[in-house]
C-alpha cells in the first residue's frame, strides 16, 4: 500500500464475516478516516435504485399527539425506507424520534404510535416545517429498538437523562441539550470526515470500539443520511471522547523517500489496527421480519453485542443500520 491508496483491499475482509449478515460480501471497504475519537470506514457496494431518500422524499407531516408521529412519502414513485431511529427537531415543539425503521409506499402516510419524545417537558407539537432530522445517538439506539411497539412517549426519558448525566449535563430527558446546544461542535464531524464519491455505507468506530455499520440503498440516500449519522448517531459519543491534542512525533525517515515509506507503513498499520477493532462474531445472528413491501423485507437483527434493522430483497442487502449494543 502506498500512502496515497484510498481504496484498500485489506478491510474488505471485515464486512462479510464478523457481523454475520448474509449479502455483505458484495460490499468493499475503503481507507479509514479519523476525526478525533471517531473512525469512519467508507463502504461501496451495489446500488438498489428506486428507494426514496429520507431528506428529499420523506417528510414529517405532523405530530398527532405525544408519541404519535406521522410521516409521508411524498415521492410519486418508489418506496421509502424510513431510517432507523430517525428523529426530528424543531424549535418550540416536542422533538420526537422513531424506534424502528419502516417501508412507506409512494404517496403513503403512516402514523407511528410508538415514537418517543426526546424533550421532556417541552410543549407543542412538531409540524412539517423548519425542521431538521437526526438519528438517535448510538448510546440510546439499543434501548430504543427494544422499546419499539410500546406506546409511551416518555419511554426514553430515563435513558436520555442517564446519558446527559454521564456527559456532565443536567439530568433531564432533553436530548436537545446535546443535539442543539452542541450542534456547532457536532456538525463539524460532517467536514472532519469526508463523504467519498459513490460511498453508500460506512463502518463507525468510537475510540477502538466498533460502534455501527450503516448501509444505504444508494449513494444519494447515504449522502442524505451523512450528517445525521456522523454528527449525531456516532458523533455524540465521539464528541465526549475527543482526545487531547498530542505533540507530533516525527517520522524516522531521513529522506523524502524514507518519509513516504514511513507514512505508508504507518497507514498500513493503522488499517490493521482498525480491522482488529471489529467485533468477534460469537453466537447466532437472529433476523426477525417486521414488515414487507413487495420483495423488500424489513427485519430486526440481534446478535451478541449487536442490534439493528436491515432491509433485504431476495436475500440481498438493501439497507442496514446495525450498531453495538450493551
Amino acid at each position: 500500500m502506498t500512502a496515497r491508496d484510498t481504496h484498500v483491499t485489506g478491510l474488505d475482509a471485515l464486512l462479510p464475516v464478523p457481523l454475520g449478515l448474509d449479502g455483505l460480501d458484495a460490499y468493499r471497504a475503503g481507507m479509514p478516516q479519523r476525526a478525533g475519537a471517531l473512525t469512519m470506514v467508507p463502504v461501496w457496494g451495489p446500488s438498489r435504485p428506486g428507494i426514496v431518500p429520507p431528506r428529499s422524499g420523506l417528510k414529517l407531516r405532523r405530530v398527532v399527539g405525544y408519541g404519535q408521529v406521522e410521516l409521508h412519502n411524498g415521492a410519486r414513485e418508489g418506496v421509502a425506507i424510513v431510517p432507523l431511529h430517525i428523529g426530528y427537531i424543531q424549535d418550540a415543539a416536542q422533538n420526537h424520534a422513531l424506534c424502528s425503521s419502516a417501508l412507506l409506499a409512494a404517496g403513503q402516510t403512516r402514523r407511528f404510535d410508538d415514537a418517543c419524545c426526546v424533550q421532556a417537558g417541552q410543549g407543542g407539537y412538531l409540524e412539517g416545517r423548519d425542521q431538521w432530522f437526526f438519528v438517535l445517538p448510538v448510546e440510546l439506539r439499543g434501548k430504543a429498538t427494544r422499546l419499539r411497539g410500546r406506546q409511551d412517549y416518555a419511554k426514553l426519558w430515563p435513558d436520555i437523562t442517564a446519558l446527559n448525566r454521564a456527559y456532565g449535563l443536567p439530568s433531564r430527558g432533553h436530548l436537545e441539550q446535546i443535539l442543539s446546544r452542541e450542534r456547532a461542535t457536532l456538525t463539524q464531524f460532517q467536514s472532519r470526515l469526508e463523504l467519498m464519491p459513490g460511498q453508500l455505507g460506512a463502518l463507525f468506530f468510537v475510540g477502538d470500539k466498533f460502534a455501527g455499520l450503516e448501509l444505504a440503498p444508494d449513494p444519494v440516500y447515504f449522502a442524505e443520511m451523512w450528517m445525521a449519522l456522523v454528527c449525531f448517531a456516532y458523533g455524540v459519543a465521539a464528541w465526549r471522547a475527543e482526545p487531547e491534542p498530542a505533540e507530533a512525533e516525527p517520522y524516522d525517515g531521513t529522506s523524502l523517500a524514507g518519509l513516504r515509506a514511513e507514512l505508508a507503513r504507518d497507514r498500513a498499520a493503522w488499517v490493521e489496527r482498525v480491522a482488529s477493532w471489529m467485533p468477534a462474531q460469537d453466537g447466532d445472528v437472529r433476523l426477525v421480519e417486521e414488515e414487507r413491501y413487495l420483495d423488500l423485507r424489513l427485519s430486526t437483527v440481534t446478535a451478541a453485542h449487536l442490534t439493528g434493522q436491515v432491509v433485504t430483497e431476495h436475500d440481498r442487502l438493501v439497507y442496514a443500520s446495525v450498531f453495538a449494543d450493551r
Partner: protein, 462 residues
C-alpha cells in the same frame, strides 16, 4: 534580520510605548527593534498591512532616532517616505509619544527636525491637535528647532512677520506651505482651550479600509471568490471568466514578481466544498489565493490533495500539480462539469502526502491551504513536518486555513500546530497574507521591500 519573526512580532505584540512622567521611555521589545539590521527593509516592513500601530510607532522611533550617515540617497529617500507615511498613518497620540521620546533621547538629527515640523505644522488635523495637546506639541516644536529659535520664530509670527529672512531660514524652509505653518505657530503659542479633545484617527490610514458586512455570504468575500462561487454554481462562463481574469489582474496590479518556486498544497477534499448556505465559499477563496499566487510567483506548483482517483471522468478536474487557465472552459463552469479549470473538491484529506509531493519539486516555499480538517490521517501532516529537519529539508512550510468568516472556531482545524499558520477568509486578507508567506523564503524580504515601496509610490500609502 529575521523577517518572519519580526513581521509576526509586528502583528501580535501590542504593548504601547510609554513615557513616564519623568520622561523615561519604556518599550519592552527595544532590543528586538534595535537588532533588526537593514534599516530600509525594517522601516518598510512596518507598512505591511496588519502591523500594529504601536509597533509601527516603534519603527518610527527607531528610524528617526538613528543617524542616517552612511546611507545612500535611495535609502534616505525611502526612509523619508516611510517616515511621512507613519507620521500621518498612525493615530496622532502615538506620533506625539514618539516625538516626545525623541526629545527625551536628545535625537537632534535633521530628519527629526523635518519629521517633527511636518507633524506639527502640516498634519491635516493640526488645528484640533494643537488645541488639545498644546504643551506637548510646543515641546516637539521647540525640540525640532531649538527652544530659542522656536520662540524667536513665534515672536516674529506674533509680530506679523510672514517671510523675513530669519523666519525663512529658521522655519519656513522646512515647509511647503508657509502660510499654514505660520498659522500653526501662532496657534501653538496662543492661549489654550480647556477640555478640547484630540483627534484619534490617522488622516491617512496605512492599511486599506476593509469592507465590513454584517452578514457574511459566499459572495461578499471579495470579487475573485464571488466570481468563482458563481462559476462553481454553474454560472455562465463566457461572462464570468473574463471578469475573473480582470479581478485577479486588479488584485495583483503593482505587486512585484517573486523570483521563487512556490509549491501550494491545495486541499481539494470534499469538505472544502462546504454545504448549505456556505457551499463553495471556502474552496473559492482558496482558489482565489491560488490565482493571485499564480500571477505573483515566478513559478507556482499546485498539488491537489483531494481524492483525484475518485473524481470520475472529468479529466480537467482530475489533473493534479497544474496551473490554472483562466480562459479555460469558456463554455461552462465547473459546477456544470463542462471543463472549467477550478479544482473540484471531493474525497478525503491527505495533507501529508501532498506535502511530500510538494517537496519533490524542491520549492523555495511550501504553502498548505486547507480548511484544516485532516482525516487521512489526523496528525500525519504534523508528523511529516516535524520530521523534515531530520531529513535535511529546510524548506519553509506554512499553513493557511481557509475559513468562512474571521470568527470561525479553529480549535479542531489546526492539523499541524507547530507550523507557522494564518487563517484567511476574505480577499482583503491577501494584502497581509502574501508578505507573511513570502517573508519565509529567501527572496521574500526583497519582495516585501519592493511591494511596500510600490505602495508608497502608487498612492496606497500617503
Amino acid at each position: 534580520m529575521d523577517t518572519p519573526s519580526l513581521l509576526q512580532h509586528f502583528r501580535t505584540h501590542d504593548t504601547p510605548l510609554v513615557l513616564s512622567r519623568g520622561g523615561d521611555l519604556a518599550w519592552d521589545d527595544a532590543e528586538l527593534h534595535r537588532s533588526a539590521g537593514d534599516i530600509e527593509g525594517y522601516a518598510l516592513l512596518a507598512l505591511v498591512p496588519g502591523a500594529l500601530p504601536w509597533q509601527r510607532a516603534r519603527v518610527l522611533l527607531r528610524t528617526l532616532a538613528e543617524s542616517r550617515d552612511g546611507l545612500d540617497d535611495r535609502a534616505r529617500a525611502t526612509l523619508a517616505k516611510v517616515t511621512r507615511a507613519l507620521l500621518f498613518g498612525l493615530p496622532p497620540e502615538h506620533v506625539i509619544t514618539v516625538l516626545l521620546a525623541l526629545r527625551r533621547l536628545r535625537a537632534n538629527h535633521k530628519h527629526v527636525t523635518r519629521a517633527a515640523l511636518a507633524f506639527v505644522l502640516e498634519h491635516p488635523d493640526a488645528g484640533e491637535l494643537i488645541e488639545a495637546r498644546r504643551p506637548a506639541l510646543v515641546d516637539c516644536f521647540e525640540h525640532a528647532l531649538g527652544k530659542a529659535t522656536a520662540r524667536a520664530c513665534a515672536r516674529l509670527v506674533r509680530a506679523g512677520d510672514t517671510g523675513s529672512g530669519y523666519l525663512r531660514r529658521a522655519l519656513l524652509r522646512f515647509t511647503s506651505d508657509p502660510a499654514t505653518a505660520i498659522e500653526r505657530v501662532r496657534a501653538l503659542y496662543a492661549p489654550g482651550t480647556h477640555g478640547a479633545i484630540a483627534p484619534q484617527e490617522p488622516p491617512a490610514p496605512l492599511d486599506p479600509v476593509r469592507e465590513h458586512t454584517p452578514i457574511v455570504t459566499p459572495t461578499n468575500r471579495g470579487d475573485i471568490a464571488a466570481t468563482l462561487v458563481h462559476l462553481y454554481r454553474g454560472g455562465p462562463a463566457a461572462e464570468l471568466r473574463p471578469a475573473l481574469a480582470g479581478y485577479v489582474a486588479e488584485a495583483t496590479r503593482g505587486l512585484p514578481r517573486l523570483p521563487a518556486n512556490v509549491a501550494m498544497v491545495l486541499d481539494t477534499s470534499g469538505s472544502m466544498r462546504g454545504y448549505g448556505e456556505r457551499e463553495w465559499a471556502v474552496m473559492s477563496q482558496a482558489v482565489a489565493l491560488q490565482l493571485v499566487l499564480d500571477r505573483v510567483c515566478d513559478r507556482l506548483t499546485v498539488i491537489e490533495t483531494g481524492d483525484a482517483d475518485a473524481r470520475g471522468p472529468d479529466p480537467v478536474a482530475g489533473a493534479a500539480a497544474r496551473g490554472l487557465d483562466l480562459a479555460a472552459g469558456a463554455g461552462a463552469g465547473p459546477g456544470g462539469g463542462g471543463g472549467g479549470g477550478e479544482p473540484r473538491p471531493v474525497g478525503a484529506t491527505d495533507l501529508a502526502s501532498g506535502l511530500l509531493d510538494a517537496l519533490e519539486s524542491r520549492p523555495d516555499l511550501v504553502v498548505v491551504v486547507t480548511d484544516g480538517y485532516e482525516n487521512l490521517l489526523p496528525g500525519d501532516l504534523a508528523r511529516v513536518a516535524a520530521a523534515l529537519p531530520r531529513a535535511g529539508i529546510t524548506t519553509p512550510v506554512l499553513l493557511c486555513q481557509a475559513t468562512f468568516t474571521r470568527g470561525d472556531d479553529l480549535t479542531l482545524r489546526d492539523p499541524a500546530p507547530a507550523l507557522p499558520g494564518r487563517p484567511f477568509w476574505h480577499q482583503d486578507d491577501f494584502a497581509a497574507l502574501l508578505p507573511w508567506m513570502f517573508a519565509h523564503c529567501a527572496p521574500g524580504p526583497d519582495w516585501i521591500k519592493a511591494a511596500m515601496l510600490a505602495r508608497l509610490e502608487g498612492g496606497g500609502v500617503t
